[in-house]
């Protein structure tokens, strides 16, 4: 099942793509393919290939961003992108495509705005008054394309989730080869009107500036840790020029859930777990593996969904495991021992040891020893990021910052958390 974005191309382009990319025997060597002077871009979502085709020197980054965005829009409309869902909604997809892409130029692709005038599944055009129509168009093309006017809630509420994924690559000797946190601040806003928001966090640059400013009140607070943010990117609602000049984050939020910002830090990361591997080759047919994990955070906090994945050689014939905590199993189909622990408090230690029997092979190639990887979830932000405030101003409606109910939650997850062995 394929879908082409531009009508300028004929079916033979589709066929060329199918033959050359989808049915090519080897692994995908590049997401951009040039066949007979035609360039194909593709991304894959489960078993659906989304492809874009061009004969010109287009902006490649834009094409991919657009394909992702299209996935987002489709997901927002009908859930998972699957063959069945696409068949069920093909008319809708046509209409969406028609609206978000014109002659290969992406147009407004914000679901919030699209919902106001996409006719399939939604508002019926003919009942709108003239004012409503022009309101739609000015909103779609206007400065605040992501929010429509006239939203009302009885209870003004907002949820902030600080979601971090901590990535680590550690050498067998315990030396950190690379570590970084990529975090996202996801906001769910249920606010009336066109609220103006201001978001503050313990960004080192901001805190230092305030400290210098000499306000004694703030100086006391800045005794708290601040963090150095390497780089951050924002949702298009954030006024970037203001951030650039004053480093303040102000915006009018879209309605509902969206990603306010992404950031990356590399300094002073709290690594929630340390993995200490020990692999010993006993002769040609046996391996002894011992792995110790240590949790490294406040004892009062609990880590969840811990999973350690210890790769085994392809010629493994049998495995015996003993673990102190949780459950461990050898999964032959995945060539790995998977060790699962439901919960673990901070400052604890646990251990697994395994004996791996190997079939003798005459394969000269050494086992590549893939790294031991780990998954977990912890209730704090490994980067140390703290939300300091989120202020809401709506001058036209009569609710103030104090009336808004705000929720903040921190979740730290493992990204690619690997220790070489």
């Amino acid at each position: 099942m394929r879908r082409l974005n531009t009508q300028r191309f004929l079916r033979n382009a589709v066929d060329a793509f199918r033959v050359n990319v989808i049915h090519a025997r080897q692994q995908v060597r590049s997401p951009v393919t040039n066949i007979a002077r035609t360039s194909f871009f593709h991304v894959k979502r489960s078993n659906i290939w989304l492809a874009a085709v061009t004969k010109q020197n287009v902006n490649a980054a834009m094409v991919f961003e657009f394909l992702y965005k299209m996935c987002d829009v489709m997901t927002a409309y009908f859930g998972k992108i699957s063959e069945e869902n696409i068949k069920n909604n093909f008319v809708l997809i046509y209409e969406l495509l028609d609206e978000i892409l014109d002659f290969g130029y992406p147009q407004n692709s914000e679901t919030g705005a699209l919902k106001t005038f996409i006719t399939q599944q939604g508002i019926k055009g003919q009942h709108q008054t003239k004012e409503e129509q022009s309101q739609i168009t000015s909103q779609v093309t206007g400065q605040i394309g992501w929010r429509r006017e006239g939203i009302k809630y009885r209870r003004n509420e907002l949820f902030l989730d600080v979601l971090e994924s901590v990535n680590l690559l550690m050498s067998p000797q315990g030396q950190v080869l690379s570590a970084h946190v990529s975090g996202r601040v996801v906001m769910k806003s249920y606010l009336s009107g066109m609220p103006e928001c201001k978001f503050g966090m313990n960004d080192k640059i901001v805190i230092d500036k305030q400290g210098k400013g000499g306000a004694s009140d703030d100086a006391g607070k800045s005794g708290k840790q601040s963090i150095a943010i390497d780089d951050c990117t924002f949702h298009q609602c954030v006024r970037l020029s203001k951030f650039d000049s004053e480093r303040s984050i102000s915006f009018i939020p879209p309605d509902g859930e969206y990603e306010l910002m992404r950031y990356r830090t590399t300094k002073d990361i709290i690594l929630p777990f340390r993995v200490i591997p020990l692999v010993r080759e006993v002769g040609r047919t046996k391996l002894e593996v011992k792995v110790v994990i240590k949790s490294n955070f406040k004892p009062s906090l609990l880590a969840q969904k811990i999973e350690v994945r210890i790769p085994t050689p392809l010629n493994t014939s049998g495995v015996q495991v003993i673990c102190m905590k949780g459950k461990a199993k050898y999964k032959a189909s995945e060539n790995a021992i998977v060790w699962k622990i439901k919960r673990m408090a901070g400052m604890k230690e646990s251990q697994i040891s395994a004996e791996i029997e190997l079939l003798p092979t005459n394969d000269k190639k050494k086992w590549a020893r893939p790294p031991i990887s780990m998954n977990f979830e912890v209730p704090f932000a490994p980067s140390g990021l703290k939300v300091r405030y989120l202020k809401v101003f709506e001058s036209k409606l009569n609710y103030s910052d104090h009336d808004v109910i705000k929720w903040v939650r921190y979740i730290g997850r493992s990204g690619i958390y690997e220790t070489r062995c």
Partner: protein
């Protein structure tokens, strides 16, 4: 309610049923029916028969139904142009609908219907919509101008739409501005010299304002457009940079990359001692690193771009090595790119870390990746002298693993290390020799043989080792054979007493038993050298070789500059200029970085466009022109011992071509990465190093060989087929037209005989062509001066040009013609021999030919047989030359003459051919290679026709 049910109807009489439903009175039923029709259309069923019925549904006030019908129209209007006209009225009406959504929808859809007749009707509504009060309609209309321009450029110009579009840049709505910019940029690309995007400080200011307000996509259009502007001075440049930097924090990677492009370009103009310059450099690194946490496909695009950026300004990312470390789960395309960048960033400061990583990678699973990692270790050694020793020992460790491809790759890079640091690491030779038997790839074998030959005096059993290779001499690849020949001669010159027999054996193998001309030539040269003046032989063969230097694959500076101007686009992903993969006139413009603002510091980072920049390029590394020369004839001149820097004349040609390049010549620039960068590297080389004296005779010999082919024959007239009847009198109401095409003195002519077989006089003749594959169009009016009386015939010659509108025809050389006279308009179609499009300057330079042949993938190769042709190869090439098919080289193998030929079509497409002619065999084989393989069939027909007449 789901739509999937629409896909399942496959009953008989389906079309009939749908027809009934479409004409139903109930709206819901109609809607359902249209959905079914569209479902059939999606899966590729032909539902064009329902055209009138669907169009009937168009007149509705239901927006949903209307959208569906429009969707159908876009698909089928082209195949049913006459019926599409029926829809025009509704379109025009909809363009005036009170609902702006419907107005926009109508104008958007109309632009997508690529039917000439409809476009005429489109002009008026479009003009209104461009000035509509609603921004949504205006932004849609702006795009529509670009659509219309794509269908009929002339019309857009005549109607003055371009000026209206320019006015929209000052529109109050940011999205309208963005779309206008996007449309203008696209149109401007096809008019390289027009001043369409008249960028001046005022418009730039407007764009920068809109930049803060429009959607993410709009920001991309505007940034891409800004990148084409050249600020007047460094102050303006700085102020633009200041206003663009906030975009680096955008969540959309494409916005970030486009902003990087603008900054990279305008930075050129800033004085390097300016504080702001340093600030800007610092600001660029974090967003580039952030791009690496995007989805893998975007990471790939970002990495390809970062690769360019670090070549141009290595200082930006020099501290960010770690982020390019490969993750186990990265897709292979990301891994390979990261590896490339790691090597570029490797320096004394981080080499230990890099080496540890590379060693890790060398044990991974993917063979390509492992090879590249091993090669990378070698490159580190060459780049960072202090690390060389560590690199060599790492390589030795890897050789110990005995993994076959790792060993071979390691040996190839160790050879390069020897060439960089002669007489330093020879202690490892013993280890290398142990692995001699496991080498099965030509490159590794050749490298090993080179090492043995080069250090023959230190290897006790060098003669035995080389002798062992000699046993299977004829089974070896050319690369190995050549290398072996040279190595044994070296050995002989070093230890003359013990190896006389060996050298004679190899010389006789090379000269007497080999069919390979290069091997023979080289053999004879050695033989003569050794027999006439052994001292001179020693000087030549054992001459000190120039050291190779670090980066083998730096992109040639002019190309790099151009690519920097294309950051974010496909060109930057392919590392090729747009002309290499975009057809036609688009993208032929070559973009350049602006000159730096005459500060004294410019020496430190010279503007590479200038001559100084070029000569600053790092000296060449070995495999420069060998690659180019080698591949076609399947002989490889790469071996380091023999290849000196290319002769200066060649490089001059390459540079010239670089600048003069038109659409067709792109083959040169478009060489695959390795090819073009090697060329670039070759260019930077010192013109005549001592060792070059050795390679000169070899290539000289080749030249002679080529000249043989080049000088063949005198041109004869171009082939022109006999006249055939195009329009029989029956169909032409008494007018009979027969004709043919010819190319005379570089002008394409249509030669016709008009015969009046009717009873009345004919006057007022005129002719028109439909759009066709090569843009053929009459260059003047049809000259029939006197009225054509009954039973009279007249010969008319109509000169043609190839600047008309283009549309691909089937067959490719089909031409649809309309002839008008006082009686009626007649339509007929004819096929022209494609040979009349072969231009006179279709003789490709040999070098270019070889590079192009190699560059075009084998998928684009087509083979044909020409039967019953009793001509000698010389006569063949003579004949073909008359039709502008030029023989570039000739070679005789086993009594078979191979002619290498090139020809160029009027639209700049090159066709390369290999024609095999065997004496006494009337069947020739012709092998055609072309970037546009569609033309091969037609070209073959021309070959056939030309040769048989």
């Amino acid at each position: 309610m789901t739509d999937s049910k629409y896909f399942t109807t496959t009953k008989k009489g389906e079309i009939f049923e749908l027809k009934a439903e479409l004409n139903s009175d109930k709206k819901e039923k109609k809607k359902e029916a249209v959905k079914k029709v569209i479902a059939s259309m999606t899966v590729g069923k032909d539902v064009s028969a329902l055209f009138p019925d669907v169009v009937n549904c168009m007149q509705t006030d239901n927006l949903e139904l209307k959208k569906l019908v429009y969707l159908y129209l876009m698909n089928y209007a082209k195949s049913q142009p006459d019926m599409a006209i029926m829809a025009v009225n509704t379109f025009v009406k909809d363009c005036e609908d009170p609902n702006p959504l419907i107005r926009a929808l109508a104008v958007r859809t109309m632009g997508c219907i690529r039917v000439d007749k409809i476009t005429e009707y489109l002009c008026e509504p479009l003009r209104k919509c461009l000035k509509d009060e609603d921004p949504y309609v205006r932004k849609t209309a702006a795009v529509c101008v670009a659509k219309l321009h794509d269908i009929n450029a002339q019309l857009v110009e005549d109607q003055g739409f371009l000026d209206t579009l320019k006015d929209l840049i000052s529109d109050s709505n940011p999205m309208v501005v963005a779309n206008a910019v996007a449309a203008l940029s696209e149109i401007a690309e096809s008019h390289p010299n027009s001043n369409l995007l008249d960028l001046n400080p005022q418009t730039i200011n407007k764009l920068l304002t809109a930049l803060n307000e429009c959607t993410e996509w709009g920001q991309i259009f505007i940034l891409d457009c800004l990148a084409n502007y050249t600020p007047r001075d460094d102050r303006e440049s700085q102020s633009i940079c200041e206003r663009v930097t906030p975009r680096l924090s955008h969540a959309n990677s494409a916005v970030v990359l486009s902003a990087v492009k603008v900054l990279m370009k305008f930075m050129e103009m800033l004085p390097k001692d300016l504080d702001y310059y340093g600030t800007l450099l610092k600001k660029l690194a974090p967003p580039l690193v952030t791009l690496l946490s995007a989805e893998p496909e975007l990471q790939y695009v970002a990495l390809r771009n970062i690769n360019l950026i670090v070549q141009r300004r290595p200082e930006i990312l020099k501290h960010e090595m770690k982020v390019f470390f490969v993750k186990y789960n990265d897709p292979i395309y990301v891994k390979l790119e990261k590896l490339d960048i790691m090597i570029r960033l490797a320096s004394q400061a981080n080499i230990a870390q890099v080496l540890a990583e590379l060693k890790e990678y060398a044990t991974e699973v993917d063979v390509d990746f492992v090879r590249k990692a091993v090669r990378a270790i070698g490159r580190c050694a060459i780049k960072v002298e202090q690390s060389a020793e560590r690199c060599v020992s790492t390589l030795l460790d890897l050789i110990q693993t005995k993994v076959n491809y790792v060993v071979q790759e390691a040996i190839v890079v160790i050879k390069d290390i020897f060439r960089k640091y002669p007489n330093k690491y020879e202690s490892v030779i013993a280890t290398l020799c142990e692995n001699l038997d496991s080498l099965d790839e030509p490159e590794a074998r050749a490298a090993m043989i080179w090492i043995v030959g080069e250090y023959a005096e230190r290897i006790d059993n060098a003669d035995e080792l080389l002798e062992s290779f000699l046993e299977g001499f004829h089974d070896e690849s050319t690369q190995v054979q050549l290398q072996l020949l040279t190595a044994i001669v070296k050995l002989f010159l070093k230890k003359p007493t013990e190896t006389q027999e060996l050298v004679q054996q190899v010389l006789s193998l090379a000269t007497q038993d080999s069919d390979n001309p290069d091997l023979r030539d080289r053999g004879y040269i050695y033989w003569r050298l050794l027999s006439t003046d052994p001292v001179a032989a020693k000087e030549v063969v054992l001459a000190e070789k120039p050291l190779i230097s670090e980066e083998t694959d730096l992109i040639e500076p002019t190309l790099l500059e151009e690519l920097i101007c294309h950051i974010g686009t496909l060109a930057s992903v392919y590392h090729k200029p747009p002309s290499a993969f975009v057809e036609g006139s688009r993208g032929v413009q070559h973009k350049r970085l602006p000159g730096s603002a005459g500060s004294g510091e410019s020496v430190e980072s010279p503007d590479t466009g200038s001559a100084a920049g070029v000569s600053d390029a790092p000296p060449a590394v070995i495999p420069s022109q060998g690659d180019l020369l080698g591949d076609l004839l399947n002989l490889d001149l790469t071996p380091p011992a023999t290849t000196g820097p290319p002769p200066p004349a060649t490089s001059g040609m390459q540079l010239g071509a670089m600048d003069l390049l038109g659409g067709g010549l792109d083959s040169l620039l478009g060489g695959d990465l390795g090819g073009s960068s090697a060329m670039g590297a070759g260019f930077g080389a010192p013109p005549a190093a001592p060792a070059a004296s050795f390679s000169a005779p070899v290539s000289g010999g080749l030249d002679d060989l080529f000249d043989l082919g080049g000088g063949v024959g005198m041109p004869m007239g171009a082939y022109s087929p006999p006249k055939t009847v195009w329009l029989p009198a029956m169909k032409g109401k008494g007018l009979e037209i027969s004709g043919t095409f010819a190319r005379r003195a570089g002008v394409i002519q249509m030669e016709m005989t008009l015969t009046n077989k009717a009873m009345s006089v004919m006057t007022d003749f005129a002719i028109q062509f439909n759009r066709n594959s090569f843009g053929l169009a009459p260059a003047g009016p049809l000259q029939v001066l006197t009225p054509l009386s009954p039973n009279q015939s007249i010969e008319v010659t109509l000169p043609l040009n190839t600047v008309g509108p283009v549309m691909k025809m089937d067959p490719l050389n089909n031409l649809q013609v309309a002839v008008k006279n006082n009686i009626d308009v007649f339509y007929f179609s004819c096929q022209y021999p494609i040979s009349m499009l072969f231009v006179e300057d279709g003789k490709m330079e040999r070098q270019v030919f070889l590079a192009t042949w190699k560059d075009i993938s084998n998928d684009n190769e087509a083979q044909f047989q020409i039967k019953d042709c009793h001509l000698s190869s010389d006569a063949v090439s003579n004949k073909l030359q008359g039709s502008n098919i030029f023989t570039i080289a000739k070679r005789t193998v086993d009594g078979q003459d191979m002619l290498y030929q090139s020809t160029k079509l009027s639209n700049g497409i090159w066709v390369l051919a290999e024609l095999r002619v065997q004496t006494g065999n009337p069947t020739f084989t012709v092998c055609l290679k072309c970037r546009a393989p569609e033309v091969s069939q037609c070209v073959f027909q021309s070959y056939d026709a030309v040769l048989k007449n």
